[in-house]
């Protein structure tokens, strides 16, 4: 059902499969972190600094003797978690704005101008500024990224809403006397859901990218909370003598980004196959 052949014989839906499996692997690794390693990712052990991969430390240790595998696995929880939460939050906000904006001309202009304004601020800069003023914590990073990504979703959902509004089933609902709220949540929302899902998945990837950049420059999660970006920031001093400190978290991050982007791409193709360049 998910995988089918298109008219010119190419496998359709393979991105979804590949991406889905990869993401599942990442999520499972993060979720089962306590079972995969008995180390505490924040436990310092100065005797065991910068060790190479061994039985005890499958990926070695970092500059403060912390087990790298533990840090990468628990860091996955944070990075994937921040990505997911930010995607969820921005989708909710964006969907809400996108769904109610078309209700009223003035409301629409107002909301869209604000969205345009926020979109005019380069994402990274806005995220940095938001975290700078509110302080470095997982919560604030999630909120900052959500604020930065929401306007794009809002625009897209609004466009979808506008096109759905003209469909006969909405006219029918109005004729039946459904309230506005009911029309929005019972009829329009399911209609925009596919597009929302696609965008939310893209945002998951974008959020993880932004978080890693923020943590790298020191404006992300606090040092006591390992995230992939954070671990790379710690390792950047020594990367010429121990590149694994950057490459393992970078590898995991890249795999996750790849997975999420593949899924998003696959969903997009699934939901609008006619846009895929004539295939």
């Amino acid at each position: 059902m998910l995988i089918r052949r298109s008219s010119d014989g190419r496998l359709f839906g393979r991105e979804l499969l590949l991406g889905g499996l990869l993401l599942l692997a990442m999520v499972l690794l993060a979720a089962f972190a306590p079972h995969l390693t008995h180390f505490d990712p924040t436990a310092l052990d100065l005797e065991a600094r910068l060790q190479n991969a061994s039985h005890l430390h499958p990926l070695g240790t970092d500059a403060l003797g912390r087990d790298l595998l533990a840090r990468v696995l628990y860091g996955g929880r944070i990075s994937l978690g921040i990505g997911f939460s930010a995607a969820l939050l921005s989708s909710l906000a964006g969907a809400l704005i996108g769904l109610i904006a078309p209700l009223n001309r003035l409301l629409d202009t107002l909301l869209m101008r604000v969205m345009d304004g926020i979109m005019s601020i380069p994402m990274m800069l806005l995220a940095i500024a938001l975290v700078a003023v509110s302080g470095s914590s997982v919560q604030n990073v999630v909120i900052a990224v959500a604020i930065v990504e929401a306007p794009r979703i809002a625009r897209i959902i609004r466009a979808e809403t506008l096109s759905l509004r003209d469909r006969p089933f909405i006219d029918a609902a109005i004729a039946c006397g459904s309230s506005t709220a009911k029309i929005i949540f019972r009829h329009l929302l399911p209609g925009v859901l596919p597009q929302l899902l696609v965008q939310a998945t893209f945002v998951w990837g974008g959020a993880m990218m932004i978080e890693s950049g923020l943590s790298f420059i020191g404006a992300g999660t606090p040092p006591s909370v390992p995230s992939w970006g954070n671990i790379m920031a710690d390792g950047k001093v020594l990367w010429q003598i121990k590149p694994s400190l950057i490459f393992y978290p970078a590898g995991f991050l890249s795999m996750s980004l790849l997975a999420v982007n593949l899924i998003a791409e696959g969903l997009r193709k699934l939901l609008s196959p006619h846009e895929a360049g004539g295939r």
Binding site: T42, L44, L46, L64, P222, V237, L238
Partner: protein, 527 residues
């Protein structure tokens, strides 16, 4: 297609040609000293702040009346010498001829006296000196007199100290600035002239040789001796990413790196063009408390922290060569005349259980501890260890990671932690900074007049004063020990051990000399 491929090929060829051509030109700059600065130069007033970047700026741009040599004995620098009259109650200083400021004006007594006064208002040793000084008197443009209430043998040591804040001589109009407000101009009489319009805070700074400077004839020793500018230009680049800095030094784009991270030393040592050696006697790490705010306004809580600290763990976190690290259970730099372990039992406890018990006894009620830590550099690892220890003791810790310049500003804030204040920070002082009670800025009990932390300890202060007033070396030794015992009971701060730092520089630099600070005179480049 073919045409496009040819174009691309040509473009790539051109680029690599351009790259190849510029490679030699980025190497050598034979009359310029290019220095990698780890810390931002944000403040131009070495009297106002003790930040190392500003201190190094001070040594390039300004000059001192007296300077201490390798053995920390004061020697004349801007003065020809001094004579002591009136049974030690009066010092007469005579300036060397030909001393000029960068704006061409001659240096006169009328510039020196306000400079000394301003320095005496801010610096620890200066403040001690001022308590002994009764009056200043201008004898003529080149000579002035300092009158004392009682004999103070350490006056030249104070005026010639190598550690922040040094007594730099500024032109009269700047020296008269309120000591609580920073001087923003940079007109000094030092061997190099600060190029203010090239200064981009956070990025780079530059100096040009000052041709009007008259260096002394003696050889360099410590910071004393002839301060000859052997290059025409000095340039600082603020490179915060250590791997980039290392690559730049190895590639020949930079010449000198004062404080490379210890982990990178092996790579630097292995490079055929780079020399790694220690110029100074090493740094002592310390954990400073905020004595004005809870929880560290309670001596029992401070004692609990001292009991939790294991110096060996902190030393390891600085990631250095073990040969360069040593535990130092005292407030004076180990290996210096006053070093001892008097009263140091509390520093050797290193037991988390006992520390926790002490914390409970102290009545700690979960007050928030804001720890100012650093992201890069020597103190980064120890900062993480400190946070870890405080947390495992059971304290409610928030670690704020900053660069040194920001931390230096933030630590001036006396408010509670929920209003931007702080509870503790880590810092390091070089051995020369803390070998005597007078120079150790953190060994104070002067409350809000003292160094950030504002410990109030009248007993400590009076012991310090007696030490300074003493004219008997043995008596001074006993008093110094008494000061240490007192300090380790009231704990203005906790010593965390000492670490030798190595500097890395290109082998074509000449004239490198051991000094307690990064002094850049006498250093040139071989052709």
């Amino acid at each position: 297609m073919q045409r496009r491929n040819v174009l691309i090929g040509l473009a790539l060829g051109g680029l690599s040609l351009a790259g190849g051509c510029s490679a030699p030109s980025r190497g050598r700059k034979s009359n310029e000293l290019r220095i990698i600065q780890g810390q931002n130069l944000s403040n131009l007033d070495p009297i106002f702040t003790t930040e190392p970047a500003t201190r190094d700026f001070g040594f390039l741009t300004y000059d001192q009346l007296i300077a201490v040599d390798e053995a920390f004995i004061p020697r004349p620098q801007m003065v020809e010498g001094w004579s002591i009259e009136d049974d030690g109650r009066s010092y007469v200083f005579g300036l060397r001829p030909g001393l000029k400021f960068h704006d061409g004006e001659p240096v006169r007594s009328q510039d020196c006296i306000p400079s000394i006064k301003r320095w005496g208002a801010r610096d620890g040793f200066g403040q001690i000196a001022m308590t002994f000084i009764s009056d200043f008197e201008v004898v003529d443009d080149n000579r002035f007199k300092i009158k004392l209430k009682q004999p103070f043998a350490l006056l030249p040591d104070a005026l010639g100290k190598a550690t922040s804040s040094e007594c730099f001589i500024m032109p009269e109009r700047f020296a008269k600035t309120d000591p609580m407000k920073p001087v923003t101009e940079a007109i000094g009489s030092g061997p190099f002239r600060f190029l203010k319009d090239e200064w981009v805070s956070g990025s780079h700074a530059a100096w040009a040789r000052f041709d009007g400077y008259v260096p002394r004839k003696e050889a360099v020793s410590g910071i004393a001796g002839g301060r000859v500018a052997k290059v025409a230009r000095v340039e600082w680049s603020m490179i915060t990413d250590p791997s980039t800095a290392m690559a730049a030094l190895i590639a020949g784009e930079q010449d000198y790196w004062g404080q490379p991270p210890a982990d990178l030393i092996p790579i630097l040592k292995a490079d055929p063009n780079v020399r790694v050696e220690s110029r100074s006697t090493g740094g002592c790490l310390m954990l400073q408390f905020n004595h004005l705010q809870p929880p560290f306004n309670n001596v029992a809580v401070r004692q609990a922290v001292a009991m939790a600290v294991d110096q060996k763990v902190f030393m390891k976190a600085t990631a250095g060569d073990p040969a360069f690290m040593r535990t130092c259970y005292g407030v004076y730099a180990c290996g210096t005349p006053y070093a001892s372990e008097a009263g140091a039992d509390i520093l050797k406890v290193a037991d988390l259980q006992k520390a926790r018990a002490q914390l409970v006894k102290s009545g700690y009620a979960g007050e928030k501890v804001v720890l100012l830590a650093q992201q890069d550099g020597l103190l980064a690892g120890p900062g993480q260890v400190a946070e870890d220890i405080l947390r495992r003791m059971g304290m409610n810790v928030e670690s704020v990671v900053l660069d040194f310049a920001t931390m230096a500003q933030r630590r001036l804030n006396k408010s509670p932690t929920d209003k931007g204040g702080w509870s503790a920070f880590l810092t390091a002082w070089s051995g020369g900074d803390i070998l005597k009670p007078a120079v150790n800025p953190m060994l104070r009990g002067a409350g809000e007049q003292g160094y950030p932390g504002w410990a109030t300890d009248p007993i400590l202060e009076s012991l310090r004063h007696r030490w300074a007033a003493s004219i008997d070396a043995n008596e001074r030794k006993d008093l110094a020990a008494a000061i240490q015992v007192q300090a380790l009971q009231t704990l203005p701060y906790v010593p965390l051990g000492s670490v030798q730092r190595a500097s890395a520089y290109r082998k074509d630099l000449t004239g490198m000399f051991p000094a307690p600070v990064d002094a850049y005179w006498n250093i040139g480049k071989s052709a």
